[in-house]
């Protein structure tokens, strides 16, 4: 250990990571060192997507990313999806559509879907299914999640979802 540190830019703000072991994953550093517990740890081997965060324009499993490799990049977690005290359109749609049960997969899905809708405001069913196929949910069977995506997509297009 030393007094070395590196800086990660999370949700628009710089955070110093002090005295860290270089082997630590981005998921660990976010959760245990920087106070962003929203990304979850359901498998820590890149299979479940519950740790999904955005690095620049890419969705990654933060459990598979070395934290130190994410310097000089924009990291967005669930905590940064909307200004504090507000909900983004996908978050709102998840509540409305009943897409939340235990909620453990929810942060990873929200980050993934928010990114999908940024690229495609009119995704068809199969496109959505493929986009979220790396995010496992054990409670919902995905039906209400797919519904929430369409509600949020409609709202991004400025329409009311029927």
């Amino acid at each position: 250990m030393s007094n070395d540190f590196y800086t990660l830019k999370v949700n628009g703000e710089n955070h110093q990571v002090l005295d860290a072991w270089t082997g630590e994953s981005l998921l660990w550093v976010l959760r245990e060192r920087l106070g962003f517990p929203g990304a979850k740890n359901a498998c820590e081997e890149g299979e479940c997507g519950s740790c999904s965060v955005r690095i620049d324009e890419e969705i990654v499993c933060s459990c598979l990313v070395l934290a130190g490799s994410a310097i000089d990049q924009e990291i967005t977690t669930i905590e940064g999806l909307a200004p504090e005290g507000e909900l983004g359109d996908v978050q709102q749609a998840f509540i409305e559509a009943g897409a939340v049960q235990c909620g453990f997969c929810t942060p990873g899905l929200l980050v993934t879907i928010d990114h999908l809708l940024e690229e495609n405001q009119n995704p068809d069913d199969l496109t959505v299914r493929e986009a979220i196929s790396g995010n496992l949910c054990r409670c919902t069977g995905y039906g209400r999640i797919l519904e929430a995506v369409q509600i949020a997509a409609a709202s991004r297009r400025g329409e009311n979802h029927e």
Binding site: G38, K40, L87, G98, Q101, C102, G141, G143, R144
Partner: protein
């Protein structure tokens, strides 16, 4: 006392409406604290050393080197267990840590607390254990004739159910042998928790669980503490599905915290989780069905063998369900069912959604299809012809006194016209993203299945829930130890409270052992009825107290008092008071709620052992590429008996989610165990359905026939969706392939005939 007719105001969603979850916002903004998110000043990390062998004798256990590692604060073994080194849901037969004998792969041997998880890992590696391996007992069929692997013996429970005239023979007889593989609950939130040493020599434990008070009594006994000094609070639960009904890291965490006098946090890895909780019992089942030439069921004979694994867990109750519901929701005058669950050196099995009824549904529904085929009858017709209805007797001799819309669920499901629009995208073919299937070769199959099980605990168990309702300044606070695991009880508790007290704001106090009595387990589809009933009763008592108080204080007739729009008003006198003012002095009621009593099964498996039953049907449509053995479930259609719908949106979530788990068991999910070792303890190798595997679930009908004796007439709805879905999917694959497929999950090698040299 509660027969007063009271109108309630319209503020906030009440019973029957799709109220939003009170934990919805924190769950979507990342602030909801799951048990893995907990943090305490100066806390340590814990870890567990597990046996790599399924059957062994420990010949040497040396922790010296581990203790010398800088940052290691405690290394504990069975010698450090302060109380009884045994726990269990029904029988205390499972060691907190192994003493000498190892009975399954992954059995805990030692535990460590250290400053950082990496130091925990190093310390676990530094513990020296020498094992003398023994031949594991892995075949449940040999268990009873093999030397005991546990002082309690290798037979966990046998039930010989005999019902009706044993001499009956059917003109038509069909026979089959079926198997169900071991399924994992695969909740996403790994076992995790935080223990904090108490100043009184006790301990505070924050944990994911399904049943706080059952945990408390087991933990207290293992710690050698009075129950009052073990305080357990529910932390955020990332799904459960049965896997959290037994203890996992509870005692270990408390031991480490008490030894180090510091807070200790522990999180299992996914691999460890596969070893750290019980699974759905693998089953082997033999059936012979007898019918007359018109398709009337006359008799069912069956033998059901469940592999309980190394420890008893809830196996005794699982085999009771598997036996009682072995033949499905049909009217059958004669039966001979043998249900057996045995101990082996395989991973311990216990509760999982559907609890014994899932396995037998695979068997009895395959038999019904065989009967239909032998009689040249329509599979739907033969099911409806034999469907149970109120007043009929179960195989246990119990008469169904409540609702039983079996024909209705079958009929509505079978007749439903799908609105599903077929996709022509190659991604929708069997094989999905692999895009390997040739559309020309696809064979489609469609089939229906029906299933049922009991709600709540059976066989004379003293099943109750407790709740405290406090009403002050117009705000209600509900305290109930019901474990919210994602199912949405918190939403229902608010709806029920609003319905009865007419309040808008309902605060839910934390679920904990130290503030309220037991709510019983979040399992057996029981909390809507049981804790819903307790909350209802507590609120009603508070309402009566309030009205009695107002009647006396203001000299008004209690029979004319109504609660409207946050006010109490008299219908015929000039009297109105706001609820806020009327409750400036707090009112409260603490209650216990019990369902109607049940009774043990007698030596012939007969008796009024159950309270109530819920029924469901599924129709599955599948595409199969027979050359590649690939299956795509195209659509699921379902009808379910719910008693009364309390929250439509949450109900849909249960129906869809339960069907997904059933689909998983049908086509992809199995814990592979070879010689007692789990071969696929990861999400890389144990696959659960993704959004691409899961088809739309179309709800043909939600049958609302209020159940007598149930609070609001509502039945629990969590388990039935997982019962008939598996059987429907495998039946549809049989239709598509003309193969017998007696085993689930159906593997591609079951479809593609592999020629052996």
């Amino acid at each position: 006392m509660s027969d007063l007719k009271i109108e309630t105001p319209v503020s906030g969603p009440r019973i029957g409406e799709s109220a939003p979850r009170p934990d919805g916002v924190p769950k979507v903004n990342g602030s909801f604290a799951f048990s893995s998110d907990l943090w305490h000043k100066n806390m340590l990390w814990g870890g567990t050393l597990r046996s790599p062998f399924p059957s062994a004798r420990i010949t040497r256990l040396d922790i010296t080197e581990a203790l010398l590692i800088d940052g290691v604060q405690a290394v504990l073994t069975h010698e450090d267990v302060p109380g009884q080194n045994l726990y269990g849901l029904e029988h205390a037969d499972q060691p907190v840590m192994a003493e000498e004998i190892i009975r399954y792969e992954g059995e805990p041997v030692a535990i460590v607390a250290a400053d950082h998880p990496e130091i925990v890992r190093r310390a676990l590696n530094a513990i020296q254990v020498e094992y003398e391996e023994m031949a594991p007992l892995t075949d449940p069929e040999l268990a009873e004739e093999t030397d005991f692997i546990h002082p309690d013996g290798n037979l966990i429970r046998r039930i010989n159910l005999r019902h009706g005239d044993q001499e009956v023979q059917g003109e038509i007889q069909v026979e089959g042998i079926y198997e169900v593989g071991m399924q994992d609950q695969a909740f996403l939130g790994l076992e995790s928790g935080l223990a904090v040493p108490g100043e009184d020599g006790g301990v505070d434990l924050y944990i994911s669980t399904q049943w706080l008070h059952a945990d408390r009594s087991q933990v207290a006994s293992c710690l050698g503490l009075e129950e009052e000094r073990v305080r357990i609070t529910l932390a955020g639960v990332g799904g459960a599905f049965g896997a959290r009904e037994d203890l996992s890291l509870h005692v270990h965490l408390c031991m480490l915290a008490m030894r180090t006098n510091r807070a200790v946090k522990m999180i299992y890895s996914r691999e460890e989780s596969f070893h750290g909780h019980v699974h759905r019992h693998p089953a082997k089942m033999w059936y012979r069905h007898h019918a007359d030439s018109k398709g009337n069921l006359l008799r069912v004979e069956a033998k059901v063998l469940l592999d309980g694994g190394a420890y008893a867990s809830s196996s005794g109750a699982v085999i009771a369900n598997a036996t009682c519901f072995a033949a499905g929701p049909y009217r059958i005058p004669s039966a001979d069912i043998e249900g057996v669950v045995v101990r082996t050196n395989n991973p311990p099995c216990g509760a999982m959604r559907g609890f014994g009824a899932v396995q037998t549904c695979v068997g009895h529904e395959a038999q019904m299809d065989k009967l239909a085929s032998a009689l040249n009858m329509d599979p739907v017709e033969i099911r409806i012809k034999n469907a149970l209805k109120p007043g009929d007797k179960l195989l246990t001799g119990q008469t169904i006194t409540g609702t039983a819309p079996v024909a209705e669920v079958i009929q509505t499901c079978a007749e439903h016209t799908s609105t599903y629009q077929e996709s022509t995208d190659p991604m929708s073919l069997p094989g999905g993203a692999g895009r390997t299937a040739d559309p020309e070769h696809i064979s489609r199959g469609e089939a229906i299945a029906v299933g049922f099980k009991n709600l709540m605990f059976s066989e004379g168990f003293d099943d109750f829930s407790s709740a405290l309702c406090q009403l002050e300044n117009g705000v209600a606070t509900i305290t109930c130890a019901c474990a919210e695991v994602g199912q949405g009880f918190v939403t229902l508790a608010q709806q029920i409270t609003r319905e009865i007290l007419g309040v808008e704001e309902v605060i839910l106090a934390p679920a904990a052992t130290q503030t309220v009595g037991s709510a019983g387990s979040t399992s057996a589809s029981r909390q809507t009825w049981m804790s819903g009933g307790a909350v209802q009763k507590a609120c009603e008592e508070v309402r009566v107290k309030l009205l009695e108080k107002l009647a006396v204080e203001h000299q008004v007739d209690i029979d004319n008092l109504v609660l409207v729009d946050g006010q109490v008003t008299s219908l015929n006198e000039d009297f109105t008071i706001s609820l806020e003012e009327a409750t400036s002095e707090p009112l409260e009621a603490r209650v216990e709620y019990r369902h109607a009593p049940t009774f043990p099964l007698d030596e012939n498996g007969q008796g009024d052992a159950h309270v109530s039953f819920a029924f469901s049907a599924h129709k599955a449509v599948v595409d199969v590429d027979p050359e590649l053995g690939l299956v795509k479930v195209v659509e699921l259609i379902t009808s379910q008996d719910v008693g009364r719908l309390l929250n439509p949106l949450q109900a849909v979530g249960q129906l869809e989610g339960g069907a997904a788990q059933g689909l998983g068991l049908a086509v992809m999910e199995e814990v592979l165990v070879t010689e007692g070792n789990i071969r696929n303890a990861s999400f890389t190798d144990y696959l659960i359905p993704t959004a691409l595997d899961m088809p739309p679930v179309e709800i043909a009908a939600i049958i609302e026939q209020p159940e007598p004796g149930a609070p609001f007439g509502a039945k629990g709805i969590g388990e039935p969706p997982s019962i008939s879905s598996t059987a429907a999917v495998v039946a549809a694959i049989r239709e598509a392939t003309d193969l017998e497929l007696p085993r689930v999950p159906v593997r591609f090698t079951d479809i593609v005939s592999v020629e052996e040299d």
